[in-house]
């Protein structure tokens, strides 16, 4: 708490003695299977021409922090924004290896995957303090009032970290951006489809707003 206070204080002065980084970090946070890695891949493909993470319909595909350094994006006015893109494991309150068995993964592999996933959640939470700005990636077709969503956003708010909520998967029929807007009225909510690139230009414009 004391560290957070001083961190926020020095942040206002553009000086952070707790920081070990050379560039700003943009974190992708959210529950499992919201599309964080798909969005990370979209950003990297658009600006670096290469993918960053593997994606899967099985939850907890990303089980460790992945970083892509020096991602530079440009807006319509020609301004540049450079950041390190941090793709984090999905945050969950429960991880059951039997859920992976149901997806056809063998028992030994399922147990290993569950163990890695628990470590991934711990790492994602620990890394919160190092983020300069965060995109919370939510599945627009799911209930936004889940406690995980509220806890993630509440913790970012407590740390004074700027937040953009990406309501992902707007290509799905069940997608409901208004429900997300109603749940988190204090934040900018942008409907996107990371998979199909819908609204991705607006997403990049919003990153500029977020960073400045």
């Amino acid at each position: 708490m004391v560290k957070t206070f001083f961190r926020n204080f020095f942040k206002k002065l553009n000086f952070n003695p707790f920081s070990k980084k050379n560039s700003v970090k943009l974190g992708l946070y959210g529950p499992p299977n919201g599309g964080k890695s798909t969005l990370a891949n979209r950003v990297c493909m658009d600006w670096l021409g290469e993918e960053m993470s593997t994606v899967s319909h099985i939850s907890h595909e990303t089980r460790e922090i992945k970083i892509k350094e020096q991602v530079t994006i440009k807006n319509k006015k020609g301004k540049e924004l450079t950041f390190s893109l941090v793709d984090t494991p999905g945050i969950a309150t429960r991880i059951d290896y039997e859920d992976f068995l149901k997806k056809g993964i063998k028992r030994t592999e399922a147990k290993k995957r569950a163990k890695e996933a628990t470590k991934g959640v711990i790492d994602a939470i620990k890394w919160l303090d190092t983020m300069d700005f965060v995109v919370v990636v939510l599945d627009a077709a799911k209930d936004p009032y889940s406690q995980v969503n509220i806890t993630i956003i509440g913790n970012l708010q407590a740390r004074n970290i700027p937040v953009l909520i990406a309501a992902n998967k707007v290509d799905l029929n069940k997608a409901n951006i208004d429900a997300i807007k109603a749940a988190f009225p204090q934040y900018e909510v942008l409907g996107i489809s990371a998979k199909y690139g819908k609204n991705i230009e607006d997403f990049y414009e919003n990153l500029f707003k977020l960073a400045h």
């Binding site: 708490m1 957070t4 945050i91 969950a92 309150t93 429960r94 991880i95 059951d96 290896y97 039997e98 147990k111 569950a114 628990t118 470590k119 959640v121 711990i122 939470i125 620990k126 919160l128 209930d143 009032y145 406690q147 995980v148 509220i150 806890t151 509440g154 913790n155 708010q157 407590a158 749940a183």
Partner: protein, 134 residues
């Protein structure tokens, strides 16, 4: 049978964050659904998730958590003032927190000022297995 345990605010108010989170998690690990008067701080919610992840094993699969916060936008100035004094005198008792073991609680839905708690189907293989162990 599902067991609920109520934890009044005064039982946790004097504890440090770590002790508070551990106390609640120990109740949950004992297969009880805990209802806490008041809400955890945001940082404590994150700590709770972190510690839960550290404790996960073949028997304990995690938790379901839900917090109802008072809607401060619906409060008028007098209510806010009254609540402020109550907080100073009695501590922050606003809100309600429910934490249950993932082996018993299937999901908790919030809408947003109503909580619905769904337990696992009593006929499911895992539920039967748990009963046998008792």
């Amino acid at each position: 049978m599902v067991t609920f345990q109520f934890v009044p605010y005064q039982d946790v108010e004097g504890l440090t964050s770590a002790k508070r989170v551990n106390k609640l998690l120990n109740i949950v690990k004992d297969d009880r659904i805990v209802i806490i008067e008041g809400s955890l701080r945001k940082e404590e919610e994150a700590d709770l998730i972190e510690i839960t992840m550290e404790e996960i094993n073949s028997r304990f699969r995690g938790i379901e958590l839900s917090v109802i916060y008072p809607d401060k936008t619906k409060q008028d100035v007098m209510q806010k003032l009254r609540m402020l004094f109550a907080n100073i005198l009695l501590g922050d008792r606003q809100g309600l927190t429910i934490i249950g073991p993932a082996s018993i609680v299937k999901r908790i839905e919030k809408d947003p000022d109503k909580i619905e708690l769904f337990t696992k189907d009593g006929n499911s293989p895992r539920y039967r297995g748990k009963r046998k162990n008792k």
